[in-house]
Structures are given as structure tokens and as C-alpha cells.
Symmetry: C2
Subunit: 131 residues, 2 copies
């Protein structure tokens, strides 16, 4: 399943801001700096792809959405580690990797991850295999 950059960002925003309470459409709009109708459109696309679900206004990732999130994060942290180990500063590494972490196949990323020694922490201290 291919997703766009905005869909990727939306998945990450929903995952990372669902505690203590699940997000509503207006929260997503606020967090993504877009207007509610734009968020509505984006959310509808993610709903139709079965990546998120909405129950009484509460937006959460589906199991499938969580899988996608985990894959994005695995790629993100793997590539981030590779860049920072080469001397790219953390913030720069993060912005660079954000552009590509949702594009590559998990099978290739897994091989990379193994090569760099299966670290369980990324440069920011978050687990490489997030849920």
C-alpha cells in the first residue's frame, strides 16, 4: 500500500498524540497546521484505506494503521542512526529521513537494521521498534 507524505505525517501525528485522549478531527487539523476541511479530506482518505477508524469523533489507528506506523518508525530510526553515525546532526538527520521513511520496502530496511547491529534505541532514545 502506497501512502503520500501527508498521509504519513497524519499517521504519525495520530499515533504520537493519542494519549491521554484520542484525537478528534480538529485536533489533527491543529497539530498538522491545516484547516479542518483539509484534515477532513485527508482523514477520509485514511479511513478508506483502512488505516484509521473513527468512533464517536475519536480517531485512532487501525491494526493495519499501527503496522504501517511501526514500519515507518523502523525505517525512520534505522536511517536516522545511519546518518547520525556518519556525523549528520540529529535534527538534520530527522528532517532528511522524514522525507523518505515511508517510501522504502520493509524488507530492505530490516537488512539495514541488522547490519547496524539491531540497536533498540535511536539517537533520540525512542525504541527502534515502536508500537
Amino acid at each position: 500500500m502506497d501512502i503520500t507524505k501527508k498521509e504519513r505525517d497524519c499517521i504519525v501525528v495520530i499515533h504520537d498524540n493519542s494519549k491521554p485522549l484520542p484525537l478528534r478531527l480538529s485536533d489533527v487539523a491543529g497539530l498538522m497546521n491545516i484547516k479542518p476541511p483539509t484534515a477532513h479530506e485527508l482523514i477520509n482518505r485514511l479511513l478508506s484505506k483502512n488505516i484509521i477508524k473513527k468512533e464517536r469523533g475519536m480517531i485512532t489507528l487501525t491494526d493495519y494503521g499501527n503496522e504501517i506506523y511501526s514500519e515507518i518508525m523502523m525505517a525512520h530510526r534505522t536511517l536516522e542512526i545511519i546518518l547520525t553515525r556518519s556525523g549528520v546532526n540529529s535534527d538534520k538527520a530527522c528532517t532528511q529521513v522524514e522525507k523518505v521513511d515511508y517510501l522504502m520496502d520493509t524488507s530492505s530496511i530490516e537488512k539495514l537494521l541488522q547490519t547496524i547491529g539491531n540497536p533498540d534505541k535511536c539517537p533520540h532514545g525512542k525504541p527502534v521498534h515502536a508500537v
Copy 2:
């Protein structure tokens, strides 16, 4: 300067097929599997970005276009080497890397390249710093 995936592909096609003769619009269309009007549109975008030039129907990269091409190739080969060294097969590495080689900053790629030992050949034997 940001370019799109199709613009990236067009730059590569123009560079890699300019010998023995420079390409014409219909050649670009043929090589990219798109119809001439679509190629026309794409070529116009690249002309207005000063990436290519057209003289008597002959399409070539500008100096700026060649710079962009070199950066794409440097990123391509750097990432390709990293993937293949992790055990990803050449063809797979290439298709994965094509998705991202035009998106990342050259400064980060240069650091990666240094880390992997500044090889002057990529897995396919082409120089890492192509002109």
C-alpha cells in the same frame, strides 16, 4: 530546488541517452513510456527550471541540470552501496533507491559517502561521482 519523481526520471533519461546523439522530445517520450504531449509538459517544466535546454529540437542538460544529475547519482550510488552491503540484491537496491535518491540533501549524502569509504565504484561498476 525541489524536483518531482518524474522530473528526476527525465533528467536521468536525458543524461544517460544523449550519446551518440542528443535526444528529441519524441525520444524522451519513448524512453519514458509517455505520450508526446505529456513529455512536452514535463520538458517545459524542466526548461522553466533551467535544468534542460533545447536547441533545434535537441534536448540537453544545462550545467545546472548536470549538477543536479550528479547529485542524484551520488545519492543513488551511495545508498545503493549501503543497501547491497547489507545484503539487499542489486536490482532491489536500485528500485528502492530510485524512490529516494532525489530527495535528500547532498551534505548528508556526502557524509554517508565518506563513512562507507569513498568508493569510486558502485555495485554496477559505474563511478559514484558521475558527470
